[in-house]
């Protein structure tokens, strides 16, 4: 294909930046067009580099990137305009993304935002070379309210701001920097009387996340050694027998995925670690990656070697700068010490991990959208079948696992299946991470064996006068106060018409108005729909309009009509959307109507 380039030339510095990322120009001309097209997976890293350096992607820079990667400019434009963290128009170099999502809203994000905007004045932000924006959940819910500071330039910075107030937000804008957030403290430690031993979080807060030696001293890499000694067949059997199921939300048996890919005749095989944690209220994977990054790398290595993959992709949410930094450090250390590379631990296995950054798109947490994003396409999901184990990343057999799922493999191997299954229930063996936030005395990440009652978790977290619990995130369901005796297992939540989802437990008491929460959920799905299929693209718009009418008590027709409409919208999105985003976009809202009696006067 002959591509017509963008007429605007790049500036010298844009050209130099792209060349620094891709190598000197010319090399790709020696390969055929087919191979040149294979460079497309570098599109997202290229856009990141430009955004980081200049604060936006100029026409000239986009054009040069397209020329180097042999990507049609219209398609690259389509990709760049898909992600919230890229700008195609000139922007101030400093941006403060203030989270106004559920946990932050409950913690007063609106007040903070108003305070910052009042101080900056109507035009003050631009004059100071900065911009203040709202952001969906930033995955720091236990330290709400929070924000993300992005500073473009020759030394670009992305910083998470926690326990935000107007003063710290303004100071960060002024200094164009912010201190690192304090290290994660597990609220469970010392408060549960040792009832719930930590398995996945054992090293969190105890080991230095930047030290491979420390990791090894605390049991790290024992599982990989074991896996290499015993071989893939053993690992496959152990993972299957453990009953481990995916922790990202869909709860698919991990062993079955691994076996399918290990046995797939098509080559090469790929491993993808889904670390694009974006479900509102979820922060478990962030804590694992920030505090125990070597565990993620080790678990990926075991998975990769077991399924016969030589390359794994670790796709981290763009809004997780510290996790990205820690993982990059862990990968470099592992490489230097022979835990990754052409001959892992001298046992003849070859495995390498590519670290990739998301760019602000919830939908990229959907597995097929994630593949598209890595491949350099718009993060649009596709219909299944074919499933990723047959047609996955780059069209090859692929295992895609969530961070928490992968980390479970370590104790399965080191402790053995019997001990692993000693915790939890028959239907849900092992432990589960719960992201507790909202109106509780001790928010944070908890690890409990499956089967513990929700009420016990709430007591541990110091919840009082619970009015509602959002279980499983924005794609989950609300529970009413009389449902808190629910046992936290896959089977019990399913029976109750709820879902554990990504482990979100967002607690609301009487001090939090419910309706703004529901409006935020409706807005979230409308903002994050990829726009591909009609039920979700238009359905989330109609749903937000409807929720606005219900809240404002300005019904079209009778309240009964609106109730029918809410149900119909829910049904078409659930039944006819391509992916899980649309299929769950009405779940929390419908449960709020059914269980919490919201809009009772307008909708009933």
């Amino acid at each position: 294909m002959d591509l017509r380039p963008i007429a605007t030339p790049p500036s010298d510095s844009e050209r130099a930046l792209v060349d620094a990322l891709l190598g000197a120009p010319g090399a790709e001309r020696t390969v055929g067009v087919r191979e040149a097209r294979g460079l497309r997976h570098l599109l997202l890293p290229g856009l990141h580099a430009l955004q980081d350096r200049f604060g936006w992607v100029s026409p000239g820079a986009l054009g040069y990137l397209c020329e180097r990667l042999h990507v049609p400019p219209a398609e690259a434009f389509g990709v760049a305009t898909f992600y919230a963290l890229f700008s195609l128009s000139e922007q101030p170099p400093v941006a403060l993304h203030v989270c106004d999502d559920l946990a932050c809203q409950a913690a007063g994000a609106e007040t903070v935002l108003a305070g910052i905007q009042r101080e900056l004045g109507a035009t003050g932000a631009a004059a100071r070379g900065c911009v203040v924006q709202r952001s969906p959940c930033l995955g720091q819910c236990e330290r709400a309210p929070v924000a993300l500071l992005t500073v473009a330039g020759t030394a670009p910075r992305t910083r998470g701001l926690v326990a935000l107030d107007a003063r710290t937000g303004l100071a960060a804008l002024e200094r164009r920097d912010a201190p690192l957030p304090p290290r994660t403290v597990l609220p469970q430690s010392g408060r549960d009387g040792g009832r719930y031993p930590l398995r996945l979080l054992a090293r969190v807060g105890r080991a230095d996340p930047t030290s491979l030696d420390d990791y090894q001293a605390q049991g790290g890499y024992a599982a990989l050694r074991l896996a290499l000694e015993r071989g893939p067949a053993h690992v496959l059997r152990e993972v299957s027998d453990s009953g481990l199921v995916g922790r990202g939300g869909a709860a698919f048996p991990t062993g079955r995925k691994w076996q399918a890919v290990a046995a797939a005749p098509a080559q090469p095989h790929y491993l993808v670690c889904n670390a694009d944690e974006s479900e509102p209220g979820t922060f478990k994977d962030r804590v694992l990656m920030e505090e125990d990054p070597f565990a993620v790398v080790e678990a990926m290595t075991i998975a990769g070697v077991t399924i016969g993959a030589e390359l794994g992709f670790l796709y981290v949410r763009g809004e997780y700068p510290l996790a990205h930094e820690r993982l990059a450090g862990a990968l470099a250390a592992a490489r230097a010490r022979g835990y990754l590379g052409d001959d892992v631990l001298g046992k003849g296995a070859r495995f390498e991990i590519e670290l990739r950054r998301g760019a602000g798109a919830y939908i990229c947490g959907e597995e097929t959208a994630l593949f598209a994003s890595i491949e350099g396409f718009r993060g649009e999901p596709r219909s299944k079948p074919p499933f990723p184990v047959e047609v996955g990343l780059f069209g090859r057999p692929t295992v895609v696992n969530n961070v928490e799922t992968l980390v479970n493999v370590l104790p399965i191997l080191t402790e053995g299946v019997a001990r692993y299954k000693a915790l939890g229930t028959a239907g849900s063996p092992g432990t589960r991470l719960f992201c507790v936030s909202g109106k509780v005395a001790h928010p944070g990440l908890y690890e409990l064996p499956f089967g513990v009652k929700l009420s016990a978790l709430l007591e541990l977290a110091g919840a009082k006068d619970v009015r509602a619990v959002l279980l499983g995130g924005a794609a989950g369901t609300f529970l009413a106060p009389h449902e808190l005796e629910l046992a936290l297992t896959f089977e019990d939540t399913k029976k109750a018409g709820a879902t554990l989802g990504s482990g979100v437990v967002l607690v609301l008491d009487g001090s939090v108005a419910l309706e703004p929460m529901l409006l935020r959920i409706a807005r979230f799905f409308r903002d994050e729909s990829c726009g591909q299929c009609v039920p979700c693209r238009v359905g989330t718009v109609r749903q937000e309009e409807l929720v606005q009418r219900l809240t404002r008590k300005t019904c079209h027709g009778t309240p009964a009509d609106e109730r029918v409409l809410l149900g119909d919208l829910g049904q078409v999105m659930r039944d006819a959307s391509i992916c899980g985003l649309g299929q769950t976009a009405s779940s929390a809202l419908e449960s709020a109507v059914a269980k919490l009696g919201v809009w009772a006067e307008s909708a009933r």
């Binding site: 294909m1 591509l3 963008i6 007429a7 990322l21 390969v31 087919r34 294979g38 460079l39 570098l42 890293p45 986009l62 049609p72 400019p73 219209a74 398609e75 690259a76 434009f77 389509g78 305009t81 700008s87 590519e354 798109a361 491949e375 396409f377 718009r378 596709r382 219909s383 074919p386 780059f394 069209g395 409308r526 903002d527 994050e528 729909s529 990829c530 726009g531 299929c533 009609v534 039920p535 693209r537 238009v538 989330t540 718009v541 937000e544 309009e545 409807l546 929720v547 606005q548 300005t554 079209h556 027709g557 409409l565 119909d568 049904q571 078409v572 039944d575 006819a576 391509i578 299929q583």
Partner: protein, 332 residues
Amino acid sequence: MNRKPIEPATKERGTPATERTSERIVERIVELSVDGQKVSVPEGATILDACKALAIDTPTLCWAENLTPVNVCRVCVVELEGARTLVPSCSRKCEPGMVVKTDSPRVRTSRKLVLELLSSSVDLSTTPCLDKWHAHYGADPARFGPAAAPAHAGEREHAHPGHHDTPDGAHAARVAQPPKLDNELFVRDYAKCVLCYKCVEACGTDAQNTFAIAIAGRGFEARVATELDLPLTDSACVFCGNCIGVCPTGALVFKREFDLRAAGEWDEARQTLTTTVCPYCGVGCALTLHVQANQIVKVTSPLDSSVTEGHLCIKGRFGWQYAGEKTKRSEG
């Protein structure tokens, strides 16, 4: 960072392109049940193929026989026993023993809602067969409330992904906007665009391999665009018009059709269709001339033409103005 090329296994991202049944060596026959009737289809056929074999009328918008199915409009969904959600009949391959329902309450609700969602947000006044399906499924797009005001030119292009102005719910948001008139050959009236991806496919690997347009933006603000929203004349567009040929809603139209419609003179009842061969080169593309009042008003190519498969180049598609203009000039 790995700077090496990684070659994808399929010609395009996503579902491997469906090979057309007629061109494949058929090895196996698959038997399934649709609405209680047994049907046998060649392996690789879709549920839509099976429906056609049984003469079950199925609405489609984003499907076309000369393009890879993208299954985005979801108006063709059917109920498949054992599946959690409905499945798109246009792309789902038949498997032995499948039990499919095309007229269950779930299917009827979803098809009705999809029609309502589309009709309330897009101008479907030039979409064929729409009234029939609206009546069939009892679609009532008005229940989402009165339509919102149209966007100004360029407004939708400036939306930033992940951000939108909070609505008050009084009006139903639409994609309404002024048509894009940036060349003499065809008009892009995106107020009528259902985002079926067909034009993008035809411009890309399914026909033309020009890649002048792609989907840009996200969510409700997703749109078909050239790079940087440039006018077509400054883009990679080669004016083959294959996008017009596949557009299901009349969002992409010949300038002449657009002008005649604007003047209220477009009248398909008065048009004759004549299939002939393009005079320009030796390929021998089949052309269908749409003639109204002794003037060519539009040119298409038959989908079943083995030469074109419905696609043409700029000469065949647009190089006919002389046929009408000549008389005009000699008169003037």
